[in-house]
Symmetry: C2
Subunit: 364 residues, 2 copies
């Protein structure tokens, strides 16, 4: 630690998540000595405020990391692949929001409420999990701890903002075209979703797209494999572990901010009841139980927007499978699903005195 705090760089500072990382850093407990904003050439010179002071965006290049203690990165996989090791070489610890490093055995994949101890093994790069994974494991952690977790089957309802600002703009334009009765314009507006780099694009407004990320083996999407493997790496320490069965169907819905998840889960302790499961959720870090059917209280994306918490409701025991339950989980995918979890990892690193690159680090 530098004398009065940490020198922090935000890589990809101008994106929807980068912006929110800056906001979350302002509100965090991390003692900040300086903030450097890094992005690609076309954003250089733009200004963003940190605690009332304007900061100019600088070019993201290897030497920009000289003197930096912590890098908070949200610049996409290819940029992180190239620049994260460069930052580590220069002594910085990188918390990376892209999917590039998540399955690397040298890289802890961390949700501070779930597996903070994994940070102790870091070699300079720490990965922030996928948005839909984070909110699910935060909610399921108290269940795993108190009742043992055998199986998880999740169907997601994911917001457009998970695909970036351009996807948000596209859905809003499509929705206006739909309201105006112009389906042709609506179809013309689809350039990004379901997946920016894929061949075909479809409107999401007033529609459902059962494809998030590209298709891979067995008809599963990359997003579905992320949810399966990341959940296992975070909860069990190994993406191929079999102690908990995990499966996912991921669907993009016409919501701007806030992912919903319908989760079926089976616990080992068959004495678990609806009430004891609700109590476990209510007592967990980062979780807010919103579950009062008599008063129509249940999690909603519009209500979760802007909050760091993960909201859990509609808790029910399965009526035919002993030890099985259902829950409805909602969180702001840009905050707990991205910016806040990234900053929270950095807070945890500071708290545990882990803001240093070990001698034997692979990338040093």
């Amino acid at each position: 630690m530098s004398e009065a705090g940490y020198h922090i760089a935000i890589l990809g500072a101008t994106g929807a998540v980068g912006n929110r990382i800056l906001e979350q850093l302002e509100q965090s407990t991390i003692p900040v000595k300086s903030v450097k904003l890094l992005a690609s050439e076309r954003s250089v010179g733009k200004q963003l405020n940190f605690k009332g002071e304007p900061i100019s965006v600088e070019l993201a290049e290897p030497d920009a990391f000289e003197g930096i203690d912590i890098v908070l990165a949200s610049a996409g996989g290819s940029v992180s692949a190239e620049l994260a090791p460069e930052a580590v070489k220069r002594g910085a610890v990188v918390v990376d929001n892209s999917s590039y490093w998540r399955m690397d055995e040298r890289v802890p994949l961390v949700v501070p409420e779930v597996n903070p101890e994994a940070l102790r093994q870091h070699q300079g790069i720490i990965a922030n999990p996928n948005c839909s994974t984070i909110q699910m494991v935060v909610a399921l952690k108290p269940i795993q701890d108190q009742f043992g977790l055998n199986q998880v089957i999740v169907s997601t309802y994911q917001a457009a903002s998970g695909a970036g600002q351009s996807a948000i703009d596209e859905v809003i334009a499509e929705a206006q075209a739909y309201i105006d009765g112009d389906r042709a314009i609506m179809n013309d507006d689809a350039h990004i979703l379901p997946v920016k780099g894929d061949v075909k694009h479809y409107p999401l407004a007033f529609n459902l797209l059962a494809q998030i990320d590209v298709f891979e083996d067995e008809g599963y999407t990359h997003e579905e494999y992320k949810m399966i493997e990341e959940t296992k790496k975070i909860m069990l320490g190994d993406p191929k572990a079999t102690a908990i069965k995990v499966t996912a169907t991921t669907v993009r819905v016409p919501v701007i901010i806030g992912h919903g998840e319908s989760v079926y889960f089976e616990v080992a302790d068959k004495s678990a009841t609806r009430e004891s499961v609700q109590a476990a959720f209510a007592g967990a870090d980062g979780v807010v139980l919103q579950d009062d059917p008599d008063h129509q209280i249940y999690p909603q994306p519009l209500l979760a927007e802007g909050s760091r918490d993960t909201f859990v409701g509609r808790v029910r025991r399965d009526l035919e499978n002993e030890g099985a339950f259902h829950a409805w989980i909602v969180s702001d995918n840009l905050l707990k699903g991205a910016a806040w979890n990234t900053v929270e990892i950095a807070e945890q690193l500071v708290k545990d005195d882990l803001v240093h690159v070990p001698e034997q680090a692979s990338w040093k």
Copy 2:
């Protein structure tokens, strides 16, 4: 059968479903001798066209059913409770779209592709199932037949039109307010959803409402019990049967027409493969397999709108549970989910020569 065809009455003719029943009847194989349109007082005198001829709406009252052979009803539970027996007393067979009669032991609950034989037991009233149930059982019928079905876990993504025209209008108004940046107006616009008769109302535009119909025991909604009990009554003949475990989480999404369903199912025949399951779907009546990940082909509400078919895609074997699979099922909730299934039941009654009320009918 009357000499040149059947005298048909549409009860609730002016609603979103009633309108579509008239359209579907125009296109059906039923020999129609006359069509009578019935509705409540405020719609009397309105005109609708049938095969180019204008027909005036008349008052729905008991004597309006004199001389009618078939009643296609979509007027809500309380109206059906009162008027369906009156129609039967006057010799008409009633196909009812409300939920009122569905669990009555004297009333067959029918999806013609799944349990047409149940019609043979009718006593004058036949119930049309819930929209979200119909598309699921149509898709799962070939699976039950070919592989045996042990378990179904469904999460729904249900369109606003399931709650009627006023819900559609509300979501469109809310979406415009959201686009215009006025969240206060958006909240003010919520008067119907999630449930017309319930205490609180929330915006659905760019949001998710994990409540369809009112809450009942154990934290389940009435819609969830409908899906569980109707599926069992249709597929097993008894709403409390245990040969197939069925559970549901039902969620309203900001789509206007077309319900989506993420369905996990376990079969008895463990030799079932992804390919044999896909082939079963492809060969089933009323089902269209839309499942080509390599070309980004999967069911979408905007593509299903206006079709009588149920679309199935994203078929995958579960990677950790033997004999378990996933599918994504989409159908036009106003057609196969309501108007078309109602008319299709009437077609089946005509085909099987069942358009008569038996002597021993309860309501005669």
